[in-house]
Amino acid sequence: MLEVTDLEVFYGNIQALHGISFKVEKGETVTIIGSNGAGKSTTLLAIAGLLKPQKGEIKYLDKHLDKLSAYQIVSMGISLCPEGRRIFTSLSVYENLLMGAVQRRDKKAVRDDIHWVVSLFPDLKDRLEQQGGTLSGGQQQMLAIGRALMSKPKLLILDEPSLGLSPMLVNQIFEVIAMLKNIGTTVLLVEQNARQALEIADRGYVIETGMITMEGPSSVLKNSDRVKSAYLGG
Amino acid sequence: MNKNKHALYLMISMGLFFCAVYLLDAYGNHYYQRVSNLMMIYVILTVSLNLSNGIVGISSLGQIGFMSIGAYVSAILTLPPGLKEHWLTGLPHWMSTIQSGLFPAMILAGILAAAIAFLVGIVILRLQGVFAAVTTLGFLIIVKVVAENWMTVTRGGRGISSLPTYTNLWWTSAVAVITVYVVLRIIRSPYGRSMLAVREHDLAAQSIGINAPRIRLLAFVISAFFTAVAGALWANLIGVVSPGSFYLWLTLLIIIMMVVGGMGSVTGSVFSAIGFTILLELLRGFENKIAVYGISSIIFAIVFMLVIIFHPDGVMGDREFSWDWFKRITPLF
């Protein structure tokens, strides 16, 4: 479904990605794990069309994404829930969700989907008219995921959804991811929380200083000594 | 070795420059003298603007306000006493009986503008870019409104005419050379290096102990001083000052000259001011021929937009002219 080959991205003179390759098949849940600054977010921003890669290619359903604008990529069915949530703080929760569906024309179905998102995250239920900025960190993360779902993506990309959340909220987020997986959504999950990410994913990649250093089925990665010592705390 | 050579080149070119000034002043026709004077005045204005806007990065749109102040101060000081008593009834008695020469008028114009710049500077240095820009534009409007309304001192919208035309090429070229010299010295001083640092990273500069606001204020005040001196020269060149002369068009003109020459490059400003003065005169000649006025402003505005879109660093960026450039052209150097 998504195939990234030899991706290289520079910020000015600094090379952030040194040839990244990976793929996500339809219906799969794939995780990319790695520490801070390894190049995870850069990879995702390049897929979403916000960064232009200097080399390499990004193919999605056999089409090249590299030359497309961000909104065209969204319209092809890719939705990125960015690191740090980036919800619209001055818009209400309801308006945030509407903006997630900004390209859709089926107004009625959009309203149904807002109900669906609220059923996934009951915390948001009584807060639809509240301003996004007044939500707690966990609620903002739920809103961010909900907003990303509103475009009815074929491929959902989550960038560090568990960052800065309490263990209980992390569990709640992962339950939703598991549920999305069960209903057949293709998910690309980027995480520092390697343990839970590998628990839920079918396959995984390890990224270090802008390069993919390991890949394989989650069960294999989980038991590899290198992953254990570097990402699972021994 | 190289340094001595460059000093020699500099002396030769200065010598040639003042020979040209002498010849033009003594034998040139009136039109060429006038254009050359304007050219030197634009050099002073552009280099001064570059000091505040280009080198220390203050977003000022109000520099022409200082020029206006300078021009009016000089006009009031140099107007013959008879006319002063007649027109400018609001002046104190001692002022309406004296008539000053160009030099004291110039210096007083510069000092007054510098003092006002100090006050304005304290305000705008606390503001972010665009807010500083509009505030200084507000300053320009305030100056114009005062000039239009203070009938007993500025003669309002009619302006002050019949000024003695003291300004000649010696004055304008000497002030231009001094301005360039002073600004280059500032850039090359330890102070100046920190100024460039200020422009790049205000916070970073502060963290390594450079007092950014003070340096920027100083640059702003010096810039206002020379801008006002240029205004004094302008007043005594044209012989008339009126509020409308120092407004949007001149503001845009010197911005164009600075941006095209390269923000941060003093020599870029010099070449650019010279080039645009010639271009402006050619266009004016063309306008007179076809008797359609305003085309030059339109062309200037379009040129500016094209440069800013396709070559935003201007011709020279923030580099300076160097004799070494000739090395590539001819082995003689």
Partner: protein, 299 residues
């Protein structure tokens, strides 16, 4: 005239002037909140609108048609301005676009001067300034009534637009977080073009009211209003639309009552006082009078 009557006369004056400022400021603030661009040429759209209306009317077009066409032309001119002058500079530094808008001012003003001459022309459409009714020696002219009512209708529609329509919510989203707007798939160009179109329509209306009030128009007529609209925007805390409206009215009232209080020989200085007010506000409350954190809000 009694003191109370005088006060009410000035009150109506201020309301009418404040309405015009509010209209200009909304357009300025809309574009600023999305692009961080201070479009000085916004005032020239007022001028373009007024000239279009006058020229169409002179050419024999019925008055209401001329007004409508002039305002729509204004909207189109705003869209063209964005496409030609500002889109190529997308992503440049704020100062670059600000200086460009300054060049656009000089360009348009000289262009209009070239076409129609530098002189002030009378603008006496519909006898707008004639008094329509008077209460207890207070004269209320048509233009005052029209300014206030029209502005209130426009403000109501704008609020609905911003709150209820997809493109209106998108505008607020883009102003809030540009990156996130890209990620959810908002088409930035559509939002920007809409903001320019709507803001320019308002500028057209403001231009009509302004020239009708003054009874004249001239190529440079839009410059002072736009710089004053900036002052109004600062008063309201830059970037928000309600702030722009309040700022516009506050400025209208401040200006009218300042002039009423000044001795006659100082009245020529009113614009100077407005900008001294700007400097004062920026010194005391750089975030504006209403704005709490709008200044930090960047896109």
């Amino acid at each position: 005239m009694s003191h109370t009557a005088y006060f009410f006369q000035q009150f109506i004056n201020a309301l009418s002037l404040g309405s015009i400022y509010a209209l200009v400021t909304i357009g300025l603030a809309m574009v600023f909140s999305i692009l961080r661009l201070i479009n000085f040429a916004h005032g020239d759209l007022m001028m373009i609108g007024s000239y279009s209306i006058l020229m169409l009317w002179n050419a024999g077009v019925p008055v209401w048609m001329a007004i409508l066409a002039g305002i729509v032309l204004c909207g189109i001119a705003g869209v063209i301005m964005e496409r030609v002058c500002y889109r190529p500079l997308r992503g440049s530094a704020e100062m670059t676009t600000l200086l460009t808008s300054f060049a656009v001012v000089v360009l348009l003003e000289n262009g209009v001067t070239l076409l129609f001459g530098p002189n002030t022309r009378p603008f006496r459409i519909l006898n707008f300034t004639s008094p329509t009714f008077s209460i207890d020696s207070i004269l209320i002219s048509k233009i005052d009534v029209i300014s206030v009512v029209l502005t209130l209708i426009i403000l109501l529609l704008t609020t609905l637009f911003i709150k209820k329509t997809t493109i209106g919510i998108s505008m607020r989203a883009v102003a809030d977080d540009l990156t996130a707007s890209h990620l959810v798939g908002i088409r930035l160009n559509r939002v920007i073009v809409s903001a320019f179109f709507i803001g320019s329509l308002f500028a057209g209306v403001a231009g009509l009211l302004w020239s009708a009030r003054a009874g004249k128009l001239y190529p440079l007529m839009g410059f002072i209003p736009v710089v004053k609209a900036f002052v109004a925007a600062v008063i309201g805390g830059f970037g928000s639309i309600p702030g722009a409206v309040v700022g516009g009215y506050v400025l209208g009232f401040a200006e009218v009552f300042l002039v009423a209080l000044l001795p006659p020989e100082l009245q020529g200085y009113r614009d100077a006082f407005v900008f001294i007010l700007l400097i004062f506000i920026l010194l005391v409350r750089p975030q504006g009078i209403l704005g709490a954190k709008t200044m930090q809000r960047r896109i």
